[in-house]
Amino acid sequence: MDSGSEVASQHVASLPTSGDADAALVRLAKNGDPAAQSQLIQQWSIRILATCRAHIRDRQAAEDATQETLLRGFRAIHSLQDEMSFGGWLRGIAQNVCRDWLRKQQRRDGLIHEERCDILTDHRHDPAEAELNQQEKLRQLALAISDLPTPQQEVLNLFYFDEMSYDDIAALLQVARSTVNTRLATARESLRKALTTLEREQ
């Protein structure tokens, strides 16, 4: 990281709370501070990836959508009025990008289930290594997650990708803390069932 980022970190370190720190960082980024922009991009890329993966099954397309969201967001950051609402605003852009992609995909293929084929092709592997090792389990997990309802996936992804707290997830998604709790518990339980069944079939 260059010295500019250190300057941005110093700005942030002197601020009292994380919410204020985020807003201060957003203000710097709005003024074109490249270090502040880099720091925000670094911080938010994982959360936007969490949202995009929840909306789009195709892994590659979700990564592209994440990139597109961040580029669109940071190019338009000067138009953001309330610095405190940066997260929700960026997530809104992500949802729009994902919706656009899904619409185009439906027009192109007509069939949603082809996305499922993408995932399977993507994770094809050498049959000689088919035993239930870590990589294989991760592949199955990715498949099982993509079968969960989108709201559950998003909570699950935010919790595990970025280790966000229940409260932070609730604030970002604008839902009650208990909703986050329920979605996460239901998602875990569904995954446990899916993985246990797969293990028995092996």
């Binding site: 260059d2 074109g32 490249p34 922009q37 880099s38 991009i41 670094q42 890329s45 994982i46 936007i48 990836l49 969490a50 993966r53 590659q60 990564e63 994440t66 990139q67 961040l70 580029l71 940071f74 190019r75 000689a128 290594e129 035993e131 090792n133 870590q134 990589q135 389990k137 991760l138 997990l141 990715a142 997650i145 699950l156 992804n157 595990y160 990708f161 970025d162 280790e163 229940y166 518990a185 875990r188 339980e189 995954l191 446990r192 993985l195 246990t196």
Partner: protein
């Protein structure tokens, strides 16, 4: 407490227990609930199984989350690079006299270059080659009229992967160099690489200039190099910058006035690549920074590049360059690193580590993987060191390193590989076994999946066979 349970037997039922187990994953249980759950678990095998399965799922999710973090980081890097490269361009698009005020030293270095360049126009400088009487291969002719002592050596060729040609006069014929180590370049020496060869030149101040295939450059005093055509990669030393220019209409057509020549300055401890293309017209040059800060001056425009940024200069205009990362942009010089020269060891290690960190997490992972293969034996050693490093715990990278060693490991690595055969990762053990099977030629009875699980008699027999082969060889 469940109404149908006696307080002296199990105080909670399975449904409640499983709900508590789910909550306990996030450490949110009260002390009382923890006690109740422990009591229930001690007596209920089904719930213990449930707890194990849920905790396995949780661990797997955490591991999946870590993989996603790598991907997100890689996306963040490319987004930041693209945003900042665009903002640099828009700054230039508004370029005016004020931009010059930000870089007061830029004018100074331009003046230096002008003096050097005009001197070059007038003086034809000779090339000196120390002829080796024992070597029958053709060497470069040394013009008799110009004694070699008259010309200070400003650079020398370190290494090349094929034919390299030199000349000391733009109108003279190119001469193939046979003895690289004896070639000293003086100011005005031009070097050309063949259609399939690369070469590395070191300046007297310790700067490195690598020439891609079919490249022509001319070296001058003051660590200045002009790229006539093709692509170079420069690393300046920590004591002296390198100045790069692209004269002879290589970037603008018709040929620009000398004051309009694009100049790329690679300050101390910086690295950049410069690529010139004459088609399609107008000709253009792309400069990409991979270390430190690189400055550009083209006509009235100036800009600074930081690592990951790339700009294209054409007809005095500057626009964003291609978004490939530095590892892809500089892939062409890997055959030079593959020569295995000791001074490249640290660079090869860093390169392999950087490549490994992208494999599996970048969109075009196979490109990074291929780059490691291109390094051949030189690239295999860092992979082996990484696997042997007890502090290196990143599972996906260890898997990739082991998989690459299946095909890249060399016989000299057999002993160290055998010491890794009991690695904690099943996939690593299997790959090491495949590598040893290939290197030590057997035994006939072999199945990689023996190393997927716990030790077995078959596995012990094969390892014993390898151990004996290695001992005999020593």
């Amino acid at each position: 407490m469940s109404p149908n349970q006696s307080p002296h037997s199990n105080p909670i039922d399975c449904e409640t227990a499983q709900r508590l187990i789910a909550t306990s994953l996030d450490d949110l249980l009260s002390p009382m609930a923890t006690d109740e759950l422990s009591y229930h678990l001690a007596e209920c095998a089904a719930c213990r199984g449930y707890q194990q399965a849920l905790s396995d799922t949780d661990e797997l999710l955490a591991s999946f989350g870590r993989e996603q973090q790598y991907i997100a980081n890689s996306i963040a890097e490319s987004v930041a690079a693209e945003l900042h490269s665009n903002s640099a361009v828009s700054e230039l698009a508004n370029g005016n006299a004020s931009s010059h005020q930000h870089h007061p030293t830029r004018r100074g270095s331009l003046s230096v270059l002008l003096v050097v360049a005009s001197t070059l126009m007038m003086a034809l400088v000779a090339l000196w080659i120390a002829a080796n009487p024992d070597n029958s291969t053709e060497v470069v002719n040394v013009p008799e009229a110009v004694p070699s002592e008259a010309h200070e050596t400003i650079a020398h060729i370190n290494a090349a992967t094929g034919p390299v040609f030199v000349r000391n006069d733009p109108s003279a014929d190119w001469q193939e160099v046979a003895l690289l180590e004896t070639l000293g370049c003086s100011s005005g020496t031009s070097i050309r690489t063949g259609e399939a060869s690369l070469c590395e030149v070191e300046t007297e101040s310790g700067g490195i200039v690598r020439l891609n295939r079919g490249c022509v450059v001319t070296f001058r005093e003051n660590n200045s190099v002009s790229v006539e055509s093709g692509e170079i990669y420069c690393v300046s030393s920590d004591s002296m910058p390198i100045e790069i220019c692209t004269p002879s209409g290589a970037v603008q057509s018709p040929a620009p006035a000398i004051t309009d020549m694009p100049i790329f300055c690679c300050p101390t401890s910086s690295a950049c690549s410069v690529k010139t293309e004459t088609s399609p017209t107008p000709a253009w040059a792309e400069v990409a920074c991979s270390q430190g800060t690189v400055r550009i001056a083209a006509g009235a425009n100036e800009s600074q590049l930081t690592p990951g940024m790339s700009l294209i200069v054409s007809d005095g205009e500057i626009r964003p360059g291609n978004a490939d990362d530095a590892l892809l942009k500089t892939r062409w010089y890997l055959p030079l690193l593959a020569l295995g020269r000791p001074e490249h060891k640290v660079e090869v290690d860093q390169r392999v580590n950087a490549l490994l960190s992208r494999i599996g997490f970048a969109k075009a992972s196979f490109l990074y993987e291929d780059q490691i293969r291109e390094l051949g034996e030189t690239g295999a050693w860092p992979l082996l060191h990484m696997l042997s490093d007890p502090d290196m715990k990143q599972v996906p990278q260890r898997h990739v390193a082991a998989r690459l060693l299946e095909e890249m490991a060399t016989p000299a690595m057999a002993k160290q590989l055998l010491s890794l055969i009991d690695d904690s990762e099943p996939m690593v053990r299997q790959s090491i076994a495949v590598a040893l099977h290939r290197l030590l030629d057997g035994p006939e009875m072999f199945d990689r999946t023996w190393w997927a699980g716990d030790a077995s008699p078959e596995r012990d027999r094969v390892q014993e066979f390898w151990q004996q082969k290695i001992t005999r060889r020593e």
